[in-house]
């Protein structure tokens, strides 16, 4: 039942993101995050944190979004699942580009590029 609620919160969060409702999405992802942690479901936990990153970015909180994305990378490392790493690094770099911090952007694009050719294994 908790697992179903978590799934549902993730789904609603996604839908709200699409609609551009950053605040409402954030509430859903926070709920999903809490439930996923109490369930010990790392896949759902990561999806929730990824949602929090997208919602923060949409809400004009770029540094908060970066923080969430670094957390996504941490969870992936714990899980030994590196498929989404290129994605996460690329998105962090995009955010730094948006706020004009090109040095940081370049640093993260380099990590992105290093991982885009061998999805699925750590570099």
């Amino acid at each position: 039942p908790e697992s179903v609620h978590c799934q549902q919160a993730l789904k609603e969060g996604k839908r709200l993101l699409k609609n551009g409702s950053a605040g409402a999405a954030m509430v859903r992802f926070e709920k999903a995050h809490m439930l996923a942690r109490s369930l010990g479901d790392r896949v759902k936990e990561r999806r929730a944190v990824r949602g929090l990153a997208a919602a923060s970015r949409l809400a004009g909180q770029p540094r908060q979004a970066v923080k969430h994305l670094l957390r996504v990378l941490e969870i992936s490392r714990d899980m030994g699942d590196f498929v989404g790493d290129a994605d996460a690094y690329g998105t962090i770099a995009d955010i730094y580009t948006d706020i004009g911090e090109f040095e940081h952007a370049a640093e993260y694009y380099d990590k992105y590029i290093a991982r885009m050719d061998n999805t699925g294994s750590p570099v």
Binding site: V83, D87, A105, D117
Partner: protein
Amino acid sequence: LETVPTIKALRSKAEAIRALELEKTLARLGEGMTNKQKKAVEDLTKSIVNKLLHGPMTALRCDGADPGAVSQTLANMEALERMFDLAA
């Protein structure tokens, strides 16, 4: 660092294509697929795009130490902006 916005523009162009095509396919046959299958198809589209863009992205990054490399990186940037229609 001048190439940073180009990297973002190229990523976003590729992502728009990938997401749209994936959505069209899942809308057509997503009903009959498990979540695991959908995830695998999504990962497949990501890894194809990543592997295809690896060369162009690498060409947009250089140390900036060697002046020859800098001018080549700028030439790559201009060519990519023309080819992928990435007007900033």
